[in-house]
């Protein structure tokens, strides 16, 4: 059975990764999951300098999902390169570093710092607010998406994945903008902006008022967006949003994703990634499919 997939020239042992921000840099989850068995480890977003993140409460459970406003707390790229990359290099898996920033310059600083590091790909989180453009997320304006993609591509030595925000009217517009900017791949979806009110305390459930929704409740939205994007652009897609098991992952693959990321499910079950992987294998056995690549995007 072949589970290997290729994205922008990077060959992955299997199509299962975990989603940025839900797995740290893999250290903590390595007590539960053999990182060698993951197609890739996608790290928590890293910025040019340490970010303190948001006040607490930072999360709230919602029906079949959750909201988070961690605020991209991270130790900064310098410590990340010295501490987290050497840890991940001990494993036979691919390393995808997720990058965040408040300005294009911030992103580029990280991209340059990472360019000579032994990592396989960079994933650019453009759901961050663009402070120079009044705080609207980079990923919500197609001109911004194209410009930042171009700028990153000009500096990056590794292939680039642009991670799309679902908080837009037409996701294909953003996907095409990233493709026009020269991206090597796309990942989607990031979290959907939501809100929860604590009716007894008569206040917001999370301190930031709004948070990003994730988990099984968002899956139909994510599958729809992956399908639309797969039919609008030709770059490969990493699909995510509410994947809990192999069957969920298969929906994304059949809709057009070359690989899948498992996020919130890691909180419900620290070995969720392994369950997704074995679920995909079971599916292939059940349907007598030898090569996962034969299934990508076949539902039209």
């Amino acid at each position: 059975m072949n589970l290997g997939v290729n994205i922008a020239g990077v060959q992955f042992e299997n199509p299962v990764m975990e989603a940025s921000g839900t797995f740290g840099s893999g250290v903590e989850f390595s007590e539960f999951v053999d990182l060698n068995k993951l197609g890739a480890v996608v790290t928590k977003g890293v910025a040019n300098v340490p970010w303190p993140g948001n006040p607490t409460p930072r999360i709230a459970e919602t029906y079949g999902g959750m909201l988070n406003a961690i605020g991209l707390q991270n130790p900064g790229v310098e410590v990340f390169c010295k501490r987290d990359i050497p840890f991940l290099k001990k494993f036979n898996t691919k390393i995808i570093v997720n990058v965040c920033g408040k300005t294009v310059e911030d992103y580029l600083e990280v991209v340059e710092r990472l360019s000579d590091e032994p990592i396989d790909m960079m994933e650019i989180n453009i759901s961050c607010p663009n402070v120079k453009e009044g705080g609207i997320a980079f990923g919500q304006d197609p001109k911004c998406v194209e410009a930042i993609t171009k700028a990153v591509k000009a500096k990056a030595k590794q292939p680039v994945i642009m991670k799309l925000s679902p908080n837009v009217a037409d996701i294909t517009v953003m996907a095409k903008a990233a493709e026009a900017g020269g991206t090597d791949a796309l990942s989607l979806i990031n979290t959907i902006t939501g809100m929860k009110i604590d009716i007894h305390k008569q206040t917001f459930a999370i301190a930031n008022k709004t948070g990003g929704m994730s988990g099984p409740a968002v899956k139909p939205v994510a599958v729809r967006m992956v399908y639309q994007v797969a039919n609008a652009v030709s770059v490969p897609i990493i699909g995510m949003g509410g994947i809990m098991n192999g069957d969920d992952a298969m929906e994304f693959i059949l809709a057009g994703a070359t690989a899948v990321s498992v996020g919130t499910a890691n909180f419900m079950n620290p070995t969720a990634t392994m369950d997704v992987l074995s679920g995909i294998e079971n599916y292939m056995r059940m349907h007598n499919v030898e090569d996962i690549n034969q299934l990508i995007g076949i539902v039209k």
Partner: protein, 257 residues
């Protein structure tokens, strides 16, 4: 070492209004547990995706069983209270650091569902031969765990309604009883912990407090459960520490409440 296990409920009992005591059979979690650590216990109802952090109240290492005592406050704890003997669910643990037990007179200060972790703490300190005082703050005369605590410590009571012991806070009870000790171990609501920290500073006593925050991963990966730290933390490189992984127990002066 942390374990993900499917555990079996071996007893479930209501010990006060809305407060339940549950013993569970584990494979390895109980063996490795130390006082002040917690477990993540998961709902079986699939719409509730996050684990519930609950303190380890008591362990029986020989039998590899552990006890939790919890208050029903929402849908998850309500679900747990309906688990019957023989039922199974997923648990991850033991999690967090636990208290650093010192060979000096101990003052355990707890309020409400901060009381459960004090039982294993008192037991361990008593086993070390340390003199232990436990000050418990309750709402009313439903003094859950009092008798268990009396096996290992001298128990002093404060109640909100004055029905037993000192009417008022745990600090009022400490002052009224005149109890003195070298090390404080505390767990309870944040306003209580603030008062305990203040008391410890005024009296120059070493003070360890156990903090609470909403958790998603429970193992230090997602950065949901942070508290403010006085110094820049080595892991985060900013003024935050992860309650689930760096705590839940901190020296009072390390953190800002």
């Amino acid at each position: 070492m942390k374990y993900k296990e499917i555990v079996t409920v071996i007893s479930q009992e209501q010990i006060a209004t809305g407060i339940y005591s549950m013993w569970i059979q584990t494979k390895d979690i109980a063996k490795d547990a130390v006082p002040g650590q917690f477990i993540s216990i998961y709902c079986k109802e699939g719409s509730r995706i996050l684990p519930r952090p609950i303190s380890i109240c008591e362990v029986d290492k020989e039998a590899d069983t552990l006890r939790i005592v919890y208050r029903v406050v929402g849908k998850g704890t309500d679900e747990f209270s309906k688990f019957s003997v023989g039922e199974t669910t997923q648990v991850v643990g033991p999690l967090g650091n636990g208290y650093t037990l010192e060979n000096r007179t101990a003052l355990l200060i707890a309020g409400g569902v901060g009381i459960p972790p004090m039982l294993e703490t008192a037991k361990a300190l008593n086993f070390m031969g340390v003199k232990v005082f436990t000050v418990c703050g309750y709402r009313n005369n439903e003094l859950f765990l009092k008798e268990d605590l009396e096996k290992y410590s001298t128990v002093i009571i404060a109640t909100d309604d004055g029905s037993v012991g000192t009417k008022g806070t745990v600090i009022d009870a400490i002052k009224e009883s005149g109890v003195e000790a070298d090390v404080i171990y505390s767990c309870g609501p944040t306003p209580m912990l603030r008062a305990v920290k203040q008391y410890a500073i005024e009296n120059d006593i070493i003070c360890q407090i156990s903090l609470e925050e909403k958790m998603a991963c429970g193992i230090g990966a997602c950065l949901a459960c942070v508290c403010k730290s006085k110094e820049v933390d080595d892991h985060s490189q900013v003024h935050t520490k992860r309650i689930c992984a760096d705590g839940p127990v901190f020296y009072a002066q390390e953190v800002e409440l």
